[in-house]
């Protein structure tokens, strides 16, 4: 094994590009994802899923399936009636929360809804048997279009007499007055299309029940093992202190595993029922159909402006497609969307009205960014369109409306307090780095020569480090336990549950600095509820700012304890102790080695009166506010107006996520985020036809970005520490996704502005771009979208 370069240095570890501690096992394929575990006597579960989007379930015949050799059982809703429903954690005054049984009961409401569970000794046999299950469906009218769903379409839930799932309004300032006094009102309708998160590891669940010990162990590819433990104990009626959830290596999440799914109730129920371990692996087809989707909003925006470009007010009416059922956080996501509609601008009056709509589709829920990309798309598209209508430069328009650095902490019209920012600095840096002035000159020259170059600007702020518990449905704190073992090695137990973010490395860096040791001497343990104190999980760009802070503060408690013991042993006051690399010293030169001190805390033969033996501390960190990372992205494109093809020439991102623990990991998060955001702008789209069939439900049809689709991104940083936590960190997991989608659409629409194209709906496939050009060309008023 080659040296990872993480030991023996005397430098400060925080801020350094350290190679990841996770990687040796991952690059050798010797790590363990859920599907890599095999238990003795393990059975395999395959789910029979509805091919209909909306139908009455008349009969399920399982005899033929049961008769197949190797089949252990076939189970339907009558069998699983005792299993509690799939939970929704959100409460709102008028929220309708339909019953969501783990297996369809009476009706199916989306293609892919689980109808029966087949269990066999072999996965191939289980699949054969699933095909032998006969289900009689009586199709019902299908509701796909959100606007029709609210206007005369049949009801998905007869008892509600409506397809409206909830309403939500955020209003502040005198909006009507703002629009009355406006010199100009810019209006635009925009669709934020439905997306598939597509973690490369599909979901997987394995369960084992030991009746003697009464212990249920559930392995799941999840972002939230502790919350899952609580929910599963409720679903199955088991005492929570006998339920253990393990999130082993998790192959990406992007929000799709920030949930509690039907399979997480079905599989452990089967294991208990059958007395044998049971495993279920999601196929990619199932992943498209029955893992949560993201986005899917229709947005009507109006921006009130003075003719000098000053923003007076913003009004938005949003429809959120919830799908047929609520998953864990479905109705929460659009509330985040509403909150972030102030963007990084001074907006004196705002009104955002959101209506949640039931349709015969899979549920929407948190997908990378979760509400903020939707808001930022609306805001940044409106800023681009407004600047263009006013004849102002896109950058100049933004600079005019940013709050100044000295105004922070800045309270927005939506009621948030942005912690710290220098919006001007990040934008100016991006302008310089992209060669903005020369790009604009080339654009003007190009238009004369029939070349269509576009420059997209996107300045964003996002709400991260989720978050203060008062603003979250299930607690927004995080736990950290630091234990120095008797031999001096350190174990960190973190409630954050990473799945690619590299927290085993970054958390080790920050603890190593505090204790004067090497990151390689810190083992970061996560994802096992029996080992780790209760925690919340990794999502919402929260792990470092909340979970890292919990670890940091637990370490501070330990340092105080170490100083007390060292003072006792060295005959001085705790305040006179300093922690150096590998030793603690008193004023005047006496010192004790780190190892001797720790061991003496365990042998406990010579400790001060009242001193608790051992060397372990836990901190549950409750953040006082969110953090608000920000930045400026600039994309340069060329559009071929004959074919509608878009060439991405350059992508520059200047991001500010506060202090940086490991710049390599931060850059990696940004790369991946930008690629996902560009994916939405350019290629990705879940398309349901009017019968509710998912037309883009395979990796052949759903255009996930491939390596050769993307340019090399140019990254730079500004650093504005957050005052919300002692490390000054903010979060970076979602920034790229949030900024890049509007950046790309702004660039393409900017290129085509002389042709009268004002807006094109995503994804900007050549056919869409070409059609927009053609329509604008044919219409005397220009773009038909205006």
């Amino acid at each position: 094994m080659a040296d990872n370069g993480n030991s023996g240095k005397t430098a400060h570890w925080v801020g350094q590009k350290l190679k990841r501690k996770e990687d040796p096992r991952l690059v050798q394929g010797i790590s363990h994802y859920t599907d890599d575990f095999k238990l003795t006597g393990m059975l395999h579960c395959v789910l029979v899923r509805s091919p209909h989007a909306h139908a009455e379930l008349r009969a399920i015949r399982t005899e033929a399936a049961r008769a197949l050799p190797g089949v252990v059982g076939v189970f339907t809703t009558e069998d699983t009636a005792s299993v509690g429903g799939v939970p929704c954690a959100v409460q709102m005054p008028d929220l309708k929360v339909p019953k969501h049984p783990v297996l369809a009961t009476g009706r199916v409401r989306y293609v892919g809804e689980p109808v029966a569970a087949v269990v066999a000794e072999d996965i191939y046999v289980a699949r054969d048997a699933a095909e032998l299950v006969e289900v009689d469906y009586e199709p019902l009218p299908v509701v796909i279009d959100m606007e029709k769903a609210l206007n005369g379409a049949p009801f998905i839930y007869d008892e509600y007499k409506s397809n409206q799932a909830f309403t939500h309004t955020l209003k502040n300032g005198d909006v009507d007055a703002a629009f009355k006094k406006a010199d100009r009102v810019v209006k635009q309708r925009m669709v934020n299309q439905r997306l598939a998160p597509i973690a490369m590891e599909p979901r997987a669940v394995m369960a084992e029940y030991l009746p003697g010990e009464k212990r249920l162990t559930l392995w799941s590819s999840t972002q939230i093992p502790h919350l899952l433990k609580t929910q599963v104990s409720v679903m199955l009626g088991l005492p929570e202190n006998f339920v253990r959830v393990i999130a082993p290596e998790v192959g990406g999440g992007f929000g799709s595993k920030l949930n509690v799914y039907a399979e997480e109730g079905i599989v452990p129920w089967l294991a208990m029922k059958l007395g044998k371990p049971v495993k279920w692996n999601e196929s990619r087809r199932e992943n498209f159909l029955a893992t949560i989707h993201g986005r899917d909003t229709i947005n009507e925006l109006e921006l009130a402006l003075k003719k000098d470009g000053t923003i007076l007010g913003l009004r938005g009416r949003l429809l959120q497609d919830c799908g047929a059922y609520h998953q864990l956080l479905t109705p929460l996501i659009p509330q985040l969307t509403a909150l972030m509609h102030a963007g990084c601008y001074k907006i004196p009056a705002i009104q955002i009205d959101i209506v949640g709509v039931f349709t015969n589709k899979m549920s929407t829920d948190a997908y990378r960014g979760a509400g903020r990309p939707e808001a930022t798309y609306n805001v940044e598209r409106m800023m681009a369109i407004a600047a263009q209508e006013l004849g102002m430069d896109a950058a100049e328009f933004r600079l005019k409306n940013f709050p100044q650095a000295k105004e922070f902490p800045y309270t927005t019209i939506t009621g948030l307090t942005y912690d710290s920012a220098k919006y001007q600095e990040s934008l100016k840096k991006a302008l310089t780095l992209s060669g903005y002035a020369s790009l604009r000159k080339r654009q003007k020259d190009g238009w004369k020569a029939g070349k269509y170059y576009g420059i997209g600007v996107s300045t964003y702020v996002e709400i991260c480090a989720i978050g203060p518990s008062a603003a979250t449905p299930a607690g927004g704190w995080e736990s950290g336990t630091v234990r120095i073992e008797p031999t001096g090695k350190v174990t960190l137990l973190t409630g954050a549950s990473p799945h690619g973010q590299g927290e085993e490395t970054t958390f080790a860096q920050l603890i190593a600095d505090e204790l004067g040791i090497d990151p390689d001497d810190v083992n970061v343990v996560h994802g096992d509820t029996l080992a780790v104190p209760y925690g919340i999980g990794t999502f919402g760009s929260r792990a470092t700012a909340v979970g890292g802070t919990a670890a940091y503060l637990a370490t501070q408690k330990l340092k105080a304890k170490m100083a007390t013991l060292a003072a006792h042993l060295l005959g001085c006051e705790p305040a006179d102790i300093t922690i150096g690399r590998g030793h603690l010293s008193a004023k005047g030169g006496k010192s004790i080695s780190f190892g001797d001190l720790v061991l003496s805390a365990y042998t406990a033969r010579n400790i001060p009166a009242g001193f608790e033996p051992g060397m372990e501390a836990t901190h549950f960190f409750e953040p006082s506010n969110f953090t608000f990372p920000f930045g400026a992205h600039i994309a340069s494109v060329e559009v071929d107006i004959e074919t509608g093809e878009v060439k991405i020439e350059k992508y520059v991102a200047v991001d500010d996520c506060g202090n940086v623990i490991n710049p390599m990991i931060v850059d990696g998060q940004l790369h991946g985020g930008i690629a996902q955001g560009i994916g939405q702008a350019m290629w990705e789209e879940l398309v349901y036809n009017e019968d509710g069939q998912l037309l883009t439900g395979t990796l052949m049809d759903y255009a996930l970005p491939k390596a050769h689709f993307l340019p090399e991104f140019t990254l730079a940083r500004t650093v504005t520490p957050s005052p919300v936590n002692p490390m000054g960190v903010k979060g970076v997991g979602e920034a790229g996704t949030i900024a890049s989608t509007p950046c790309m659409v702004n660039a393409v629409c900017d290129a085509l502005s002389p042709l009268g194209v004002r807006h094109i709906e995503m994804p900007l496939k050549p056919e869409r771009v070409w059609s927009a050009i053609a329509k604008a060309h044919l219409s005397p008023q220009g773009d038909p979208h205006t």
């Binding site: 690059v27 394929g29 191939y124 998790v250 491939k706 090399e712």
Partner: protein, 164 residues
Amino acid sequence: MKKNITITVNGTEHRTFVEPRLLLVHFLRDVLSLTGTHVGCETSLCGACTVLLDGRAVKSCTVLAVQANGHKVTTVEGLAADGLHPIQEGFWEEHGLQCGFCTPGMILCSHDLLARHANPSDAEIREAINGNLCRCTGYQNIVAAVRNASKRMSKPVAARAGVR
């Protein structure tokens, strides 16, 4: 009716009886417990299951185990005789992975490329790995990792770590 097959995996010969429909990826994972080869789509579209069949990259979710009868298979576990292969070093050095699920397939696909083309350009790397999907990295550091590996492999010392 089970078929008798002989497959050499990572230098070790395995003689066994398998169902004709058993996929190579399931043979590797379930019969041989080599779980470094991942299943991401079962339709040859994501590349997570990429292995080397007689030195060339194939997607083992669409190869039957019986089709590999008499052939040599290299999985990620068998890439390096000792320690890390230069491509694995490259991925580690350049942060060419995050969740790690696509990584074994990416590494073996890169192996196929570098065996044919010792010094590819970035564009050639992007073209070569376009059958392997990654949702975490945006590919930029994967390209850097392959570039890094190409440099490592051009050094004589690295050449010792070969495919078994």
